[in-house]
Amino acid sequence: MAEKKACSLPGDQASSNESRRDFLKQSSLLTAFAITPGVVVKAAESKWDEGIAASLEKMPLKLEINGVKQSLQVEPRVTLLDLLREQLALTGTKKGCDYGQCGACTVHVDGQRVLSCLTLAVMAEGKKVTTIEGLATGEQLHPMQAAFIKHDGFQCGYCTPGQIMSAVACIKEGHANSEAEIREFMSGNICRCGAYPNIVDAIMEVKQGGQQI
């Protein structure tokens, strides 16, 4: 009984159904206060539809992904990794740890290798993003992709997109001049299957082959 009293709102004439709805409204307002700032709280205060509030929270985002210009709407808290995977269905980029510790999510932003799990998508405004899907030219594999296959640079393959994106950058940066240097500058890509020796071989071959990458 006591519980019911707590739920019912002043007036008490309202039907039980209505007071339940009011209760839900009120409690979701409280939750909104606890976990969200700004617009959502304002929307809840002024009893706006939550759908409107959500869309207000999104920001316009223009960027280029694998050569395709994208004009999107994203919440500021969405990472580039989640944008790629969840919104654009580019699932080649993997989520390993989601905290910057494994390198599975490595992509190129304006030609530099970065971790998409620690990049807020809104911070890539106006940038050019390349993912593993953007590396091949039509049916022609990128030399690094071909070298990974040739040298068996993977077992389960989960770390591979990140390894390949990192490997391409490693050569472009000029950090692939020796096995030791490759190991040091590829240390941000963890492989639980331990394919490291073969990965190093693949990178050495591409580097020595001198192909355009």
């Binding site: 976990i35 500021p76 808290r77 990472t79 530099q112 971790l115 620690l118 809104v122 040091e184 240390s187």
Partner: protein, 327 residues
Amino acid sequence: MIQFQYIRASTQKTAIETTAKDATAMFIAGGTNLVDLMKRGITTPQKLVDINNLPLKNIDASTGRIRIGALALNSAVAENKLVLDRQPLLAQALNAGASAQLRNMATVGGNMMQRTRCPYFYDTAMPCNKREPGSGCGALEGFNRMHAIFGFSDKCIAVNPSDMNVALVALDATVHIAGPKGNRTVPFINFHRLPGDLPQKDNNLEKGELITAVEIADNPFNKHVHYLKIRDRASYAFALVSVAAALHLDGNTIKGVRLAMGGVAHKPWRLTEAEKALVGKTVSEGTFRQAAEIAMQGAKGFKYNSFKLKMGPNAIVEALKTAAGIV
């Protein structure tokens, strides 16, 4: 991650004003520390002020000094010709930190401000005075293998995790700060603080203040330098102990020396007394060993980190030997 408002600052003034007047607002630079902490609910800003459009990326040398903008990327600094020529110790320390991808994102200002990696700070189910003042220090009686041996308090025994900071404190850098009340400079050694009774405060930056640059005056430490980092794996791990060593040699005589340690205190730990003991001496393992012993005076271990009491002096000797080229 909780929702937050995102603002792209186009001027330094708006960035500072917006952050100064809103208790829940924070700057974001590379995001490599802040986004991590936000995902875990450790840091919960309701407003992020993105400072990446501010013109603070330059690395230039004016008369007698190198000035590095706060938004210069860790990778850009480590590869910069001026830095490699004049301050190679800084480049070495930067390259010892994180991974190539992270260094392509991390900025100098953000690196200075990165929070501790103490597991109790990271685990929101555990007590931590730094994360939640008054909740206690879980590490004091807990798993304290990574923790401080110098300068700790009974409120906090966490360490500053940055490699770059160790080099910058050794090189007597100066921090340039712009804030709501104007500009100021702080010697790097006074930028970070010891935990005392306020472990929630890592450094002396005031609310709304923005690091704009770090400056290093030219010095003779461009030849005999070494940054030694000891960690659980060969790369991509935080330091258990690290040493930044720089020698100015005249033949075999030590004319000047700069020495600092990482992974041992709440701030990058300058070894001034050991430096004094080295000046004027001749390069030798014995001299370095004596200095290392002086450096370790006052160190105290906890249950799981007492190994640092031995690893510390050994690391100092090794770093000095490598810097001097007598390996």
